[in-house]
């Protein structure tokens, strides 16, 4: 039962996490992290991706009347799943936006560099500089 509950929980958190990351990236102008060129689509995508899992979580007790994921396990599962959601976002946005941003922007640092470059472009540039 725990495995089944954990699996459902992971799927829901993953979807909500990807959605929230899109909303945060759109708000912060992190264009290199977005799946869509237009912010409006990103916000709509975020609304659907976050809203549906939250609706299921709200309804949780009616679907799963027995069994619980304890607090500490829930915290661990959440953060492991968020790491997965983040890697998924970095991967997909880097593939989608590879033609949109031709050259990595070296003038910006940290998260800000994802305003005009994809994550993989920045990573490639980072390791090229090191070598």
């Amino acid at each position: 039962m725990f495995l089944k509950l954990s699996f459902v929980y992971i799927i829901l958190v993953f979807l909500a996490g990807v959605g929230v990351l899109q909303a945060a990236a759109a708000f912060n102008d992190l264009n290199g992290l977005l799946f869509f060129p237009k912010k409006m689509f990103s916000y709509f995508f975020a609304l659907v991706m976050t809203g549906l899992p939250l609706a299921v979580l709200f309804d949780w007790n009616w679907h799963y009347a027995i069994g619980i994921i304890q607090g500490a396990e829930q915290t661990e599962l959440f953060f492991l799943t968020m790491v997965l959601a983040l890697f998924f976002t970095l991967l997909v946005s880097s593939i989608i936006n590879v033609r949109r941003f031709s050259e990595p922007n070296d003038n910006l640092e940290g998260l800000d560099s994802l305003r005009k470059s994809t994550y993989f472009q920045m990573l490639k540039s980072h390791f090229r500089k090191k070598n």
């Binding site: 996490g17 912060n28 027995i66």
Partner: protein, 193 residues
């Protein structure tokens, strides 16, 4: 006193069953905790100004430490202390239960400990997000009594655990500030903060 207050709060859905149905969704084990953790993600990635973002990210790290400490404190307490749930003690016709029957200790409320640890830690440095989180925490913990799975003192105990955990996390954050800065610099180097 505790039982009287429990009956008073838990009596609300007796008169308005819809309130109980809604609160069992809001105050279940997953809904609000996931929302709170998602707010952490927004604080981490969604702050535009660099200085404010650094502060938000440090606050999120401290809140995570506080949540971890609150969980640990609850686990340690319940290893030595067990208080039966209201529905296990009171006659069933006096309890309006809108939830499954948890088997772990009623005191302290793990839910209250975690949500208050998160909310107080954030409130210490970010008033706007902190107030939102505190409102969420108060509604959620009140709901735990309303749906019949905690006594008022359980959630008050949980709140106290959360407050102590966030205070300890704040102190740890001050003592080990260089470690937090190192972590933030490392993630910044790899374009994640």
């Amino acid at each position: 006193m505790d039982i009287t207050l429990f009956k008073l709060i838990n009596g609300i859905p007796g008169k308005f069953p819809m309130v109980g149905e809604v609160m069992s969704g809001i105050s279940n084990d997953y809904f609000l905790t996931v929302i709170i953790f998602l707010i952490f993600v927004v604080m981490w990635f969604g702050t535009r100004d660099l200085q404010r973002r650094r502060l938000s990210q440090r606050t999120v790290l401290i809140a995570l430490i506080a949540v971890g400490l609150a969980n640990a404190m609850v686990v340690m307490t319940t290893a030595f202390f067990f208080r039966p749930r209201p529905f296990a003690i009171l006659p069933l016709d006096q309890v309006h239960l809108f939830f499954y029957k948890p088997t772990d200790s009623s005191f302290p409320s793990n839910f209250a400990a975690v949500v208050f640890a998160a909310a107080i830690s954030i409130f210490a440095t970010n008033r706007k997000s902190g107030i939102i989180l505190l409102v969420i925490a108060v509604i959620g913990t009140f709901g735990r009594v309303l749906i019949g799975i905690h006594y008022p003192t359980d959630v008050l105990g949980g709140m106290a655990y959360g407050a102590v955990a966030s205070l300890f996390a704040y102190l740890l954050g001050s003592i080990f500030n260089p470690v937090l800065v190192l972590f933030l610099n490392f993630t910044r180097k790899f374009y994640l903060s």
